[in-house]
Structures are given as structure tokens and as C-alpha cells.
Subunit: 350 residues, 2 copies
């Protein structure tokens, strides 16, 4: 007994983590099909003690698949998702292609699973930074209402996929022998970055995704307000995001300042977070307990801590959240959605 599942982008880091989580959760897979670009077709991927051959997305006939989890760029998603739906599959699309469409639910199961009922074949997952941030915002929105959110992010390198990780690791290795250059005492001797707008090794830059010409807000930063509004059913929510790439491999962190609709103490905020599924409150900074990327990498919960009042902001609360950008920010969320759509209990999670 099981379902016929397709994974698109199977050779990428997200595909790898998707397969890993399917195993962890004992997802009932009857038949598995893996898809990627023509370049990667023919690769053999080992999963559940079997070898699976990657198929080229271009030639694929999707019929017979119950559900496809797709992690590609938006252009590829726009091209192929309609074909998948026409072939009778449900598509969980991780790209930004359909997130804004009224007919496409944008879902984080802990927050708005009810929106799934209206799907017409495609369900979108949120941007990876939005996914981490909203796991901190949603408990407060449900308990107290949230008027506005200011986010400064610390986004991991793996958001740029396998090629991004490779460039980062290689240049980090080279840069470690150039300490005087990292201190600004001599020019740095590294190949020009290809995957990032600047050197990623031991550096950071307020630039994720793209800036349109003359535009001072990046596409990454634009997404957060629209996506949070849709998922929280809060059309008036204000969000201002600053997206910064940092030299961390896995784990997106965000420093959030919220203005709540009704006053709440730190203890009440902590309690709302503790009661919310999928979050783990780590908030004893004097005992070195707070979110870090290394602590959130490889786990399902989003870690939340450093909860403080901001006395000069109306019902102001600041906090920090860290989540695995490849898990809750991507593959885990998609699989949680798949479980809901297919009526599978995720309780057999290891």
C-alpha cells in the first residue's frame, strides 16, 4: 500500500533532503520517480536500499503519479506544473511561480492547513526565509494579532543549492590561507564569484535573489509580506524585510521585531510559542540557550528565542528564529503538505 510519488529537482540539495525525510517519516511510497534537468538525467540515486534512475523532466510522462514534489526555479515550474496537473497529479511546488495565485493554496500545515481543501491541483510552499519567520509570527498572530513585522535575516549558503555550497566551500578553503586579506590588509586572491553577487567566504551581503534595475528591494525581500499575508489571512499585515546572505551552510536565522495588536508580556509570548506545533522555544541566553544555525540544521522544529519587549514600539516584541532552510524552509514542509493531502499520518516520524 502506498502512493506513486515524483520528485522534481531530485539531484539538488532539496531533492536529497526530500528523499531523506521521506525515509525518516516512513512515507508510504509505492512507486518513486525522480526527475531533473537533461544534464542530470541518467544519474543513479540510491534510496530505500534501491537504485533509482533520474529521468529528464522534458520528456516525462507524469501519468500514474499521485503526487509530485517539485523544487525548480519559477520558469521551469510554470512550464511543467500545468502538464503534471493535466496528467492527474497533485503538484506541491516549492518555487515562487504560483504563490500569488488566488486559486493556489500557499500552506504551512501548522498554520493554514485548512486552505488545502480549495486546491485545484497545485499547492505552493513558501519562500524558505518566510517559512522560518512565519513559524515565529503565527503563534503570536493567533494569540495577540500582529500588526507589523520587521525582519533582518541571516540566510545560509545552501539557499543557492549544490553549486552555491561548492563555490562557498572551495573559496572558504582558499580564503583561510589569506587571513591578512580577510583583515583588509591586502587584496583577496579568489576566483570571481559565480553563484553569489560577492565573495561568500567569510563575508556577507544584503543581497538574496535579484534586484530589478533601479529597485532598492530584492525579490527575496518582496516575497515576505505577500506570503505572510496570504498564509495568515491577514491582508493588512505590514512586513519590511532585509535579506542578508551569511557564511553558514544550513540554517536560516531571522531577527524579528513585531508590533502586536494587543499587549503581551514576554512570558505570554513564550507560552504562545511553546504551545505552537513545530516550534521549540530556546530562551535562556544566560545559559547559552537560543537559536543557532548549527542547532537547527538537520532538525524539523524551528528554534525561537531571545524574546524581549521593545518598550518604544506599540506592543513591541523582538525575537530570533532559526530553522533548517532545506527542511521546514522547503522539503519538510512539502512532505507535511503531501501527508495531509494524501491522508497520511506523519506520526511515524523517527
Amino acid at each position: 500500500m502506498g502512493f506513486n510519488i515524483g520528485i522534481v529537482g531530485a539531484t539538488g540539495v532539496t531533492g536529497e533532503v526530500t528523499l531523506r525525510i521521506l525515509s525518516e517519516r516512513h512515507f508510504p511510497v509505492a512507486k518513486l520517480r525522480l526527475f531533473a534537468s537533461l544534464r542530470s538525467a541518467g544519474q543513479i540515486i540510491s534510496w530505500a536500499e534501491q537504485d533509482w534512475t533520474v529521468e529528464a523532466l522534458d520528456d516525462a510522462d507524469f501519468s500514474g503519479l499521485d503526487l509530485i514534489i517539485s523544487a525548480t526555479d519559477s520558469a521551469v515550474a510554470r512550464q511543467f506544473a500545468p502538464k503534471m496537473v493535466a496528467a492527474g497529479c497533485i503538484v506541491i511546488d516549492q518555487s515562487s511561480a504560483f504563490r500569488g495565485e488566488p486559486s493556489v493554496p500557499l500552506v504551512v500545515p501548522e498554520i493554514n492547513a485548512g486552505d488545502l481543501a480549495a486546491h485545484q491541483g497545485i499547492v505552493s510552499g513558501p519562500n524558505c526565509t518566510t517559512a522560518v519567520a512565519i513559524m515565529a509570527v503565527a503563534p503570536l498572530h493567533q494569540a495577540f494579532g500582529v500588526d507589523s513585522v520587521v525582519s533582518s535575516s541571516y540566510q545560509a549558503i545552501s539557499g543557492r543549492g549544490r553549486d552555491g555550497i561548492s563555490e562557498f566551500v572551495e573559496t572558504s578553503r582558499a580564503a583561510l590561507d589569506q587571513l591578512e586579506a580577510l583583515r583588509g590588509h591586502e587584496p583577496i586572491d579568489l576566483p570571481a564569484p559565480v553563484q553569489f553577487p560577492h565573495h561568500s567566504a567569510f563575508n556577507l551581503f544584503p543581497h538574496c535573489e535579484e534586484f530589478a534595475d533601479g529597485c532598492t528591494t530584492s525579490t527575496e525581500e518582496e516575497k515576505m509580506q505577500a506570503e505572510m499575508r496570504k498564509m495568515l489571512h491577514a491582508p493588512d499585515l505590514h512586513v519590511h524585510a532585509t535579506a542578508v546572505r551569511v557564511p553558514v551552510v544550513v540554517g536560516h536565522t531571522t531577527s524579528l521585531m513585531l508590533s502586536l495588536k494587543t499587549a503581551a508580556t514576554v512570558a505570554e509570548v513564550q507560552d504562545a510559542i511553546t504551545r505552537f506545533p513545530g516550534t521549540n522555544l530556546l530562551d535562556e541566553p544566560w545559559s547559552r540557550r537560543y537559536p543557532t544555525p548549527l542547532a537547527c540544521a538537520g532538525i524539523d522544529d524551528v528554534l525561537i528565542g531571545r524574546v524581549r519587549e521593545v518598550p518604544f514600539v506599540n506592543n513591541g516584541i523582538s525575537l530570533i528564529a532559526s530553522g533548517d532552510n532545506l527542511r521546514k524552509g522547503n522539503a519538510l514542509n512539502a512532505i507535511q503538505v503531501a501527508e495531509l493531502l494524501l491522508g497520511i499520518s506523519g506520526d511515524n516520524n523517527d
Copy 2:
């Protein structure tokens, strides 16, 4: 012709940068004396084509020195600065020991050089993150008034000195061979951190300096409001800081959200920054021009960019600033103060 100058903490990274900047600016040094802890006494440091022997601070007789630049912890500063003043020296103290004392000017020359006139022997320099942030806040405070500041920082490893850099470089080298651990797929195999509360390699943590037991704000975070209020002569300024250590060697960055007293457009804000000495506006993100640590390391200017309006905050403006934490955050600022106190023109800067 020149002055007799003492450098305390001469063997540390700040001492090293102080000597470097004295050379760069052709600071008129007649006699140089270098001080450090007993452990480092006897070390030979080469400067201006001469060898200089480091003296133990404990035994030192400071008489004959015109000015001492001191980079130690607060306890050491409290012990020795009064002796230096008693010996007739002016002390520029980089620790937090005296910053709050009404009789001690806390000075960033571009901002409040006038406060130096009232000194009684000791002048304090600001915390390194405050120094970077205030170079962005001050131009807007002068032009429009600033009501409040929210800061999320990205603070470099070198804030923890030479031992911090060593631990970071060594563990980064080891961690690069543990990519699966950095992805959270297996435990990381690194020695327990000594200089930092958590592993610093390819990680980050919202913890700089200390948290008192049960206290949710770190000493690092507490400083920013008091120091900005004092330097800007703005006793009502509100500041909320979140301090985060990131895996970058040199260059503190901060993401700031300001509420101005009077409305200003992005162009007006940019103009105020451009006219302010010691800052460099880099604000064409679509051309990849914005502040980064690697760009600010080794230079004097604080880089400012990503200026945007925050429509839901009263006269809200967000921006990013990056500055060399060892230069404007420390040694450069101290030498600029020394130049003012001794009537030296800093214009012979290379």
C-alpha cells in the same frame, strides 16, 4: 618634533592596527612605549623600521608620556587609567570602564568632537558596534532628528581578539572537512569552544559579551542606547539592539531601522549621509553596490547603503552599515581623538 605615545594592549589585534594606523597617518611620534600583560612583556614589535620591546603594564612608570591609547578589558582599565592620569598622561580608553561617567567624554570625532574640551584626563571610545552604527545614525539625527533605532548586528570574530581569531580559523579549517555535520546530518567533531559561547565556524549566535544570570539582554546590547544618547546629546533616544556574532573575520555590519523625528525621503537621507565625514554611501543594490564586511575591512570609512523607507513606521527608514571594527570601531577612532587632543592634522593620511 612629536609626542610621546603609549599603546596599552600592544600585542593584541587592536594594538597591531593602532600601530599600523599611526604609520599610515604619519602620526608624529617622538617616543613610543608599548605595554601589555606580564605574559606578553618582553615581546619585540617592529614599527617604523625599529624594534620596540613590550613592557609589562603592572610595573610601568607612565611619566613622560603625553598620551596613552589603551585597549584592555574594563577591569584593567579601571586599575591603570587613574595612574596614567596621575602621571600626567591623557588616556584614550577603548574599554567600557568610563564611558558612562559624566566627567569622561565619549567621542567619535565626526559627531561630538566638541565634548573633548571638558576632558579631565580620560576620554572614552565607544563600543565597536555602536561606533559603526552611530556613523549611520548621526547624519540622520543632525538632519532630521532620530526618535528610535532598532539594530540587528552581524559582528565579526575579531571582536574577540587574537585568541578569538585563532580559534575561529582553526575550527573553520576542521569544519570544512565536515560538510555533512554542517548540514546537520551527523554530529560535528570540533573541540569545545573556549573564546565563544558556541562553535564559531560556519555558525552564528545572538550572544556577544555576557548575559547576567536571568537577564535577557547582553551587556553588548545594553551599551548601544546609553552610548548613542551620550554622543548624540539625545537623552530621549530609544535604542533596541540585538547583537549577533557571525563567521566573518573583520567588519561589523548592522541592519538598522530608524524612526525619524521629521519626514525624509530616501534621497534626502542619502544626501545627509553623503555630506557626513567618515561615511561612504554605497547604495545601488541592482549594481551589487552596498556595504559588505570584506569591502569595509582595512578602510577608514563606514559604508552605508540599502536605504529604504519603512512605510508603516513613523518616518521610518531602514539601512545597512558596515565598518572595520578594529579601525572606526576602535583604533582609528582613538587616533582621530588623539590628533584632536594634540592638535595634529590627520590630513597626511595616505
